[in-house]
């Protein structure tokens, strides 16, 4: 694909807009692409990045990523017109609810991007969406305005420099009657959410991260154990989105 635009959102978060040949029509919110870094010689393993937004009409894809290592650093330096080699869309995305549902969307850090495409889909279904977005601090905030188009957004920061102080669960004081929770972010956050809602009737879907080699289900590198710990699921193939009933968080 071709880089249409590369925008720096925060100190280390970048938004990459890509065009060119891709199966835009097939994209489900929560799916990811697997990106070749450079010519792949030094870096044989592709980097999985969620699809933050897919514009079927414009035929463009937006990925939002944080620079944490050499691969994401390389991505952050791409320029308009550069070509990149990616596979996707891969994995299974978020199952969508009935129309007019009342849903909760919770994202932490770079778990937030895939929830943006999700909110677009949810709003097409006329859902009422509460959105909680967790960041490190005020300088870390990104995409908040975009999310506000689709629902009621509460932001949290670890240090309280913006919005609610503390983790996303701190923003859950008045529990609403949500039918479904969609979440993506660090494992401790997902666990805390599950714990929080353990006595409620709410369907929970979480998107997981795991180190990957093939990204297509062939290497069994990225597995997560099922709830009863007797079998495994592949994050890249059966996931990255799982019902929290399915797997051992």
């Amino acid at each position: 694909m071709e880089v249409l635009q590369n925008i720096q959102l925060t100190k280390d978060v970048f938004s990459l807009k890509l065009g060119g040949e891709f199966s835009y029509e097939k994209v489900q919110a929560g799916q990811f692409v697997n990106i070749l870094i450079g010519d792949g010689k030094t870096h044989p393993l592709r980097r999985p990045i969620s699809i933050a937004s897919c514009d079927v009409e414009e035929r463009s894809l937006t990925l939002i990523h944080r620079v944490v290592g050499v691969g994401t650093h390389w991505l952050s330096e791409l320029k308009q017109g550069d070509r990149i080699d990616l596979m996707g869309p891969l994995g299974n995305g978020f199952p969508l609810p009935d129309e007019n549902s009342k849903v909760l969307v919770v994202g932490g850090g770079v778990g937030i991007p895939p929830l943006y495409e999700l909110c677009k889909q949810l709003s097409k279904l006329n859902c009422y969406i509460d959105i909680i977005l967790g960041f490190r601090d005020e300088d870390d905030l990104f995409m908040v305005k975009e999310f506000e188009k689709y629902g009621n957004v509460i932001t949290c920061t670890e240090d309280g420099s913006e919005g609610v102080k503390g983790f996303v669960t701190c923003a859950l004081v008045n529990d609403e009657e949500w039918t479904t929770l969609y979440s993506c972010g660090p494992l401790p956050m997902l666990r805390a959410l599950k714990e929080h809602f353990s006595h409620k009737e709410i369907a929970g879907y979480v998107s997981l991260e795991e180190r990957m080699a093939c990204g297509v289900g062939a290497c069994y590198g990225c597995t997560v154990e099922t709830k009863d710990r007797t079998a495994t699921k592949r994050v890249c193939k059966e996931g990255p989105v799982f019902s929290w009933e399915e797997i051992c968080l």
């Binding site: 590198g221 990225c222 597995t223 079998a231």
Partner: protein, 303 residues
């Protein structure tokens, strides 16, 4: 093209010398979404054991310079499920199936091999002898001549298919192990399995892999793999299948020139899902350019 890509590995006739390596291609279904498996010389399926295995804790893959480490730990649903859910499907394609058999006791290996042979679904067995031998405190079967010879001999007695023994590179003289496998009755040898490597996470101050060490594969290991194939070809008269860091047709030809009859492609599938068909095309192009009609013309020419 005007070249004949067909090769024989002992009694196995392959339409071309390129096969995905065990553990890097699942049971074929995933890559079948990218291209027809019928283009391949054969499909080698993931390491299969008697009982289902979940494998090691994650992280169980990581990248190193020009390579990767894996500690999958032989995650697989067990031979019965593999036959039922995977080989049945795969056997409907028009491509030979090689089942990679793993185990932690001689008995286990034998029983898996029996089941594969009885299923009638596979064309050959590849014995993964880099697995830890529980009876010997976890030392791999493939690093001791006597242990290896005994394993191969026992398995051979239960094996009605061509038996390929896959050698471990983590030994002082791989040619000695090759001889042991030959003596045990191997019909062909494949090499190399992964080297053993480790990577440290500086932030966590511990190994990246939950299993601490992992199997090291990819471009980085190719010089070792070529050398070992060369060493084995010099001493053993069995058909050899080369692998370790093959990413291109030219990489494959290096192995042929030191004596390989066929080659396998592992890590390259992850970098590029079309690695195998591309390599097949590149081999054909190279042969055409060099005026070579059959790989036998150059096999072992650099020995």
């Amino acid at each position: 093209m005007n070249v004949n890509l067909g090769v024989n590995v002992g009694s196995l006739e392959l339409r071309n010398p390129v096969m995905p390596a065990s553990g890097c291609f699942g049971y074929g279904k995933e890559y079948a979404e990218y291209y027809s498996l019928n283009q391949l010389g054969a499909v080698v399926v993931s390491g299969t054991t008697l009982e289902p295995r979940l494998g090691n804790k994650t992280p169980r893959v990581t990248e190193v310079t020009a390579g990767m480490l894996n500690a999958i730990g032989l995650a697989n649903p067990g031979i019965d499920a593999v036959i039922q859910d995977e080989l049945q499907w795969l056997a409907k394609q028009d491509v030979p199936i090689i089942v990679n058999v793993s185990g932690d006791s001689v008995e286990d290996y034998c029983r898996v091999v029996e089941k594969v042979c009885a299923s009638g679904l596979a064309q050959a067995i590849e014995l993964n002898v880099s697995c830890p031998n529980v009876a010997l405190g976890g030392i791999a079967f493939g690093v001791d001549k006597k242990v290896l010879r005994n394993l191969v001999e026992s398995v051979k007695a239960h094996c009605t298919l061509p038996l390929i023994v896959k050698l471990s590179p983590n030994v002082t003289r791989i040619q000695d192990l090759a001889v042991a496998a030959a003596e045990g009755g191997a019909d062909a040898l494949s090499l190399i399995n992964t080297l053993i490597g480790m990577q440290i996470d500086l932030k966590a101050r511990k190994p990246v892999l939950a299993n601490r060490t992992g199997g090291f594969s990819g471009r980085a290991i190719k010089p070792v793999a070529v050398r070992m194939l060369h060493d084995v070809a010099k001493e053993v008269d069995l058909p050899l299948i080369g692998m370790g860091g093959i990413y291109s047709g030219k990489d494959a030809i290096e192995f042929v020139m030191v004596g390989a009859s066929a080659i396998m492609v592992g890590t390259a599938n992850f970098t590029d899902p079309f690695a195998c068909p591309n390599i097949i095309k590149e081999i054909a192009e190279w042969m055409e350019r060099e005026g070579i009609k059959n790989l036998e013309e150059i096999r072992g020419c650099a020995l």
